[in-house]
Every structure is written in structure tokens, then in C-alpha cells.
């Protein structure tokens, strides 16, 4: 099953090292292959480095695509991380 959704980054710092690390860690629980796309560049969401290279600041949009049995759960999990602003307090 392939699920795709556009998410808007809400936290001040954007997807920086810390938030990217949270994404990679969270994905360890799932089987699906997951990718992010921004401005025509698609990267593997399980690589912290590749996520960083997208350079996603606040308000940027990324297209999340998950492919696998738990694709729907993957999307829910990522959506929650983004909505929680990766736990950023400010």
C-alpha cells in the first residue's frame, strides 16, 4: 500500500539535526519504505543526512510517501511529530 501526504513544517528551527534524528528513530518501529520529497528532490527518510540535505525551514512543505503494510501508521506517526513541533518548546 502506498500512502502520500503533504506536511507543512511548523517548528521554528525547521527540520534540523535534532528533529531529523527523531524522525529516523521513530521510523525504526515500522517496516514500510519511506521517502520525503521537496522541490523535486526525493530522499530516504531513514537517513538523517539525506533528510538534512532537503534543508526544510519553518513553513516549508514536504511530500511524505510511505510504501508497505504499515504505511498508514507511518504517516500518522510523522504527522504527529510535525504537529507537536518535534517537542520544541518555543
Amino acid at each position: 500500500m502506498i500512502v502520500e501526504k503533504t506536511l507543512t513544517i511548523k517548528n521554528e528551527l525547521g527540520i534540523h539535526a535534532r528533529s531529523a534524528a527523531m524522525i529516523v528513530r521513530a521510523l525504526e518501529r515500522y517496516q514500510s519504505s519511506v521517502s520525503f520529497e521537496r522541490d523535486g528532490t526525493r530522499v530516504d527518510a531513514r537517513s538523517l543526512l539525506d533528510i538534512l540535505t532537503l534543508g526544510c525551514p519553518k513553513h516549508s512543505e514536504i511530500v511524505v510517501r510511505a510504501d508497505g503494510d504499515d504505511a498508514r501508521e507511518v504517516l500518522e506517526c510523522l504527522e504527529k511529530l510535525v504537529d507537536d513541533k518535534f517537542g520544541e518548546t518555543a
Binding site: 539535526a17 537517513s47 543526512l49
Partner: protein, 592 residues
């Protein structure tokens, strides 16, 4: 270089990211970053061996970071520990490993080269990211990558925990793992080749309020462990092997920096006007154009003393007229200042050219320096004067000549100055129509003939540091006589009064730009003596302004009348301090 010979002073510019002044001993963290060589793997069987080496280096790197994390768990905030986790994740990043292994396999190269290729690719990709903060995260990738490379090279030990107190840490770049192993709170300052406003060194330095300059490019090649080094985190300057005079200037700056209090900045924008409506002009003493925004923020009316010496120091060849001009233009056209007083070269000739004729002198403060040197090397002097005059077309400019000791020197200086003006006019090069010229009043002989000198210039500026040492015959470098250095010596006060009276009689303004002008305890005395302008380190301006705004000139004059009845420096010092303490109960400490 002979062991006894003084080391060469080197001035470097970088980005000042954490304000304040540090004076300390350099500690250079030298990484064994041997240039990475490329080896072609001759045999296919070697490929798996390279991959094994690479994986082992990653494992070793991970273990080292875990060890650091374990050791410092109790000492550091969670934030830095988290960064170590990020670095561990980068080490184990699936794409980093995949690409490096692919490079080993496809290109048949050694693990070091393969990893370098991967890191370079990421550097390239990161450099295209728009957001500055995110772009600089490449530094995290580099920290992790460098650690793997060190492990591949078989280098395990980093001996940075042995940094002593008062150390100024010099490095290419500092990683969180580096700073965690230091007793950061004991470090005086940081200076790094790499880095920017959001790099790790910056964040740590700001958190601990330690002065730091980053992005200096070559500080690790210019400074060695054991060198005396000054970090000016406000101006973004680093001075390696400064001479005693420069160290003294920075000690003053450092003291002023420690004195600023948060609430004072609100006094900064108001004018320095006394309760009985007497306005005193406030100037800032600067040596780098980078200091001007801070001076404006601290409420300066203008630049009261721009010391031009750093244009000359630390160069292989003399600065060109164009280089002088660009710097002066930047000064005079700065926003928020009403005037710029540019002082011509004020050191000995040995400071900027290795000319055997200018051998080190036994007593340099009384030797061939400042205006004496300029009058002897007229061609050099003219280059500076032309540049100042050209810059004067862009903003109100005052030229200040240092160390004038008599009328002949002044007339000769003016003759050369006017000659340069005429040459510019002849060549059709514009310059300011109303450039004021003034002289430093710092040699006692000049003070004694101040009335005559006043007729030849537009303003006086009293340089108290030199005036005191020449008047009291003290070698300031000699610690055994430093107790004699007393700004409130009756002789010094009489000389200051004489300069002010001579100036006012002729109708010219009298400024003071020595250290004394920036000492709050002397402010009332100086107002009472009638100075028109006080120029000082910009950090102290808000405090001096606050003080001036809370007194009357009338009471200052009364104070001076009283002070002049004493005949020893210690009586005056005691009386003035006591007076200031009583008047401003909170602002002056008892001990000094």
C-alpha cells in the same frame, strides 16, 4: 628568530560571535588531519578488507562518543548530550555508509578516500541549502566524518582535557565532543578557523559568556601554544603576540566590558548634558571599523579617536593609499556618528616594516615614533594624509597628529598637510572642505606652550596616558615604578587645566581621549576642568553619560577648586573617591 627577540605581532579578523575581551595564553588543538591520500586497491580481495576497516572505524567512533557521553552525563546540560546522539546517528547513517561502501567497491579506492568523497558530496549539497542554520549543520557531518577518519588513521587519543586555566583555545573547529572534554568555564576565549553565527563553538561560547571569534581562516597557522593572544569578541579581532602597549589597551577594554550593566544602555541615546544644561560631546576610541556599530549603540556622538596603527601592523608590504582610503571612508561615512577623529600613525617604525635602519630602540616611547617618524618618512606620511583627505569628502573628518612636542614639528606637519591638499586640488580629487586639524597634547613641552600652539590648530586632544608618563617620568612597562602612575597627581591636573584654558582663550575645543576620560571616578573632575569632549572605550559611555546627566557643572567646578588645594596625589585621590562614593552611593565600590 632569536629567543630574546620579541615575537611578531599578528592581527587577524574573523566573525565576532560572543562579545567581550579575553587576554590569555594560546592553546592550540592540533588535529592530526594528515592530508588524505588516495590508494587504488590493486586486488579485488582488498575491497572487503577496506569495507571491514571502514565498519570498524565507525564502531570505534561510536564507542568513543558513547564513552564521552557516559563520562559527562552528570556535568553537562541535556542539550549537548543530545548532539552527541545526533553525531552517533550520523556515524551510522544508512546513506553515509551505503555511499562510502559503494565508492570503495565501484572506484576501488581506500576507505579514507571513499569516505572523503561521500563527505564532499554532502558538503556540496548542504552548501545549496537556503536556510543558514540548516546549512551550517554540515559541521555536524564533518565532526562525525573527521572522527571516522581519525580512527581509520589509527589515532585514538585526544589530549584536550589537559588545557590549563587562562587558556585561549585555538582550533580549526570545535565539536561538541571537544568542548565537553574541556573545563569550559575556565577557558578565557575561543578562536577558530571555521564556523559562523550558529556553529557549535559560537553556541558554547555564548552559553558560557566567553569571548569568541570564529571564521578566522588561518588562526591555527598563525598562533602557537604558549603565545600571548587577545580575543576581541566584540570587534571580531584576534591579536597574536601583542606588544605591551596593545595588551594595556585591551586590559582597559576588558575592564570596561566587565563594568557594563544591563540597565545602563537606556542612558545611551540621551545626550551627555548636565543638570545645568551644559553639553559635553562624547567620542568613542576605536581601532577597527567593526567596532563602530557597537559604539553607536552605546551612544557615542562621534569617533573621538580612531587609532590607525592596525592598518600597518602584520603585513609584508606597506598598505596602499587605496587600502587606507577604503578604511577611512568606512569610518567617516558610518551611520549614527557626527564626526570622526582620525589619528595619524602613532607607533615606532619598527612596527610595520623590517627596515634595518629602524632597529629596536632602548626606550621606544621616547624614541623615533609617531609624528617624529612621519616627519622623517614623509612619503609614507603623505600616503596616509592623502587617504584621510580623500575620505573626508564622505563625512565630517578631523585629523589628529600625535606626539607634537613643539612649534616646529607642528608647522612642518601643517606644511606637509597643506601640500597634500594642494596636490589633491591640482589633480581634481575631491576632499572635505572643512577638515579640522588638531594635535594630541601629551608631551609636557607642548602643554607649556599651548597658547601658541592653539593658534595653529582647530582642536586639542589630551592623551593622558602619555602625558602622565612623560610628566612623572615613569616607564610604564617597568613594574617597579608603576606605583608612581597617578592620574590625579597635582602636576597632571595643572597641566590639563593649562591646556583647557589655553584652548578656550583661543576659542578652540579641547577633548580628552586618554584612559582617564573613561574612568567614571574622574568624570566630575574633568567636567570641572572644562573639557568639551570626552572620548573613551564605547562600553563605558552609557555609565559616563548617566553620571554627567546627574551632576551640575557648578558643583564639578567647586570640586576642582577644592582638589587644587591639595598638594599630594594620594590626598586628591582619596578625596575624589570619597566624594564620588558619597554622591553616588551605589555606583562606586569602596575597595579599589
Amino acid at each position: 628568530m632569536n629567543p630574546g627577540e620579541p615575537k611578531r605581532t599578528v592581527v587577524l579578523q574573523g566573525i565576532g560571535v560572543s562579545p567581550g575581551v579575553a587576554i590569555g595564553v594560546a592553546y592550540l588543538i592540533r588535529r592530526v588531519d594528515a592530508p588524505i591520500s588516495r590508494y587504488q586497491l590493486e586486488d579485488k580481495s582488498l575491497v572487503s578488507e577496506e569495507i571491514r576497516r571502514f565498519r570498524k572505524a565507525i564502531k570505534d567512533s561510536e564507542n568513543q562518543l558513547l564513552e564521552i557521553k557516559r563520562k559527562f552525563k552528570d556535568q553537562e546540560g541535556l542539550e549537548t548530550l543530545y548532539i552527541l546522539d545526533v553525531h552517533i546517528m550520523i556515524l551510522k547513517d544508512k546513506m553515509l555508509i551505503k555511499q562510502t561502501i559503494q565508492n570503495i567497491e565501484d572506484k576501488g579506492v581506500n576507505a579514507e578516500w571513499a569516505l572523503r568523497m561521500t563527505l564532499d558530496k554532502y558538503r556540496d549539497v548542504f552548501s545549496k541549502v537556503d536556510d543558514e542554520y540548516l546549512r551550517e549543520r554540515i559541521s555536524d557531518v564533518e565532526y562525525a566524518g573527521q572522527r571516522i577518519l581519525r580512527n581509520l588513521a589509527g589515532v585514538h587519543h585526544e589530549t584536550i582535557s589537559g588545557i590549563g586555566d587562562n587558556a585561549v583555545v585555538i582550533a580549526r573547529d570545535l565539536s561538541p565532543a571537544d568542548t565537553m572534554q574541556m573545563k569550559v568555564e575556565r577557558i578565557q576565549g575561543f578562536a577558530t578557523d571555521m564556523g559562523g553565527k550558529t556553529s557549535h563553538t559560537t553556541i558554547v561560547a555564548r552559553a558560557y559568556e566567553i569571548p569568541a571569534v570564529v571564521g578566522i581562516e588561518k588562526v591555527t597557522t598563525e598562533a602557537k601554544t604558549g603565545d600571548i593572544i587577545i580575543i576581541d569578541g566584540t570587534a571580531g579581532a584576534v591579536i597574536v603576540n601583542p606588544d605591551p602597549e596593545i595588551i594595556r589597551r585591551y586590559e582597559e577594554k576588558k575592564r570596561h566590558y566587565a563594568m557594563i550593566e544591563d540597565g545602563l544602555l537606556k542612558h545611551a541615546r540621551k545626550t551627555a548634558t548636565t543638570l545645568d544644561k551644559h553639553r559635553v560631546l562624547i567620542g568613542a576610541n576605536i581601532e577597527f571599523t567593526e567596532e563602530i556599530p557597537s559604539a553607536v549603540q552605546h551612544g557615542t556622538d562621534g569617533i573621538g579617536l580612531y587609532r590607525t596603527e592596525f592598518i600597518y601592523i602584520n603585513r609584508d608590504r606597506l598598505p596602499t593609499e587605496e587600502e587606507h582610503f577604503c578604511t577611512y571612508k568606512k569610518v567617516v561615512e558610518s551611520r549614527g556618528i557626527r564626526f570622526s577623529t582620525i589619528r595619524t600613525f602613532d607607533l615606532g617604525g619598527d612596527k610595520f616594516i623590517s627596515d634595518p635602519r629602524l632597529a629596536a630602540e632602548m626606550n621606544p616611547v621616547m624614541g623615533l615614533r609617531a609624528i617624529r617618524f612621519c616627519l622623517r618618512e614623509v612619503d609614507l606620511f603623505k600616503v596616509q594624509l592623502r587617504a584621510i583627505l580623500r575620505a573626508s569628502a564622505y563625512g565630517k573628518t578631523k585629523v589628529l597628529f600625535p606626539m607634537i612636542s613643539g612649534m616646529e614639528e607642528l608647522l612642518e606637519t601643517k606644511r606637509i598637510f597643506n601640500e597634500v591638499k594642494k596636490e589633491l586640488k591640482r589633480d581634481g580629487i575631491p576632499y572635505g572642505k572643512d577638515v579640522k586639524i588638531g594635535i594630541m597634547m601629551e608631551v609636557p613641552s607642548a602643554v607649556l606652550i599651548a597658547e601658541d600652539l592653539a593658534k595653529e590648530v582647530d582642536f586639542f586632544s589630551i592623551g593622558t596616558n602619555d602625558l602622565i608618563q612623560y610628566t612623572l617620568a615613569i616607564d610604564r612597562v617597568n613594574e617597579r615604578v608603576s606605583y608612581l602612575y597617578e592620574p590625579l597627581h597635582p602636576a597632571v591636573l595643572k597641566l590639563i587645566r593649562q591646556v583647557v584654558e589655553a584652548g578656550h582663550k583661543t576659542g578652540i575645543e579641547v577633548a580628552m581621549c586618554g584612559e582617564m576620560a573613561g574612568e567614571p571616578v574622574y568624570t566630575m573632575v574633568l567636567l570641572g576642568l572644562g573639557l568639551d569632549e570626552l572620548s573613551m572605550n564605547s562600553l563605558v559611555i552609557p555609565r559616563i553619560k548617566k553620571l554627567i546627566r546627574s551632576v551640575t557643572v557648578k558643583e564639578c567646578r567647586k570640586l576642582v577648586e577644592r582638589v587644587m588645594t591639595f598638594n599630594t596625589a594620594s590626598e586628591i585621590e582619596f578625596f575624589v573617591r570619597d566624594y564620588m562614593r558619597r554622591k553616588f552611593t551605589d555606583d562606586f565600590e569602596v575597595a579599589d
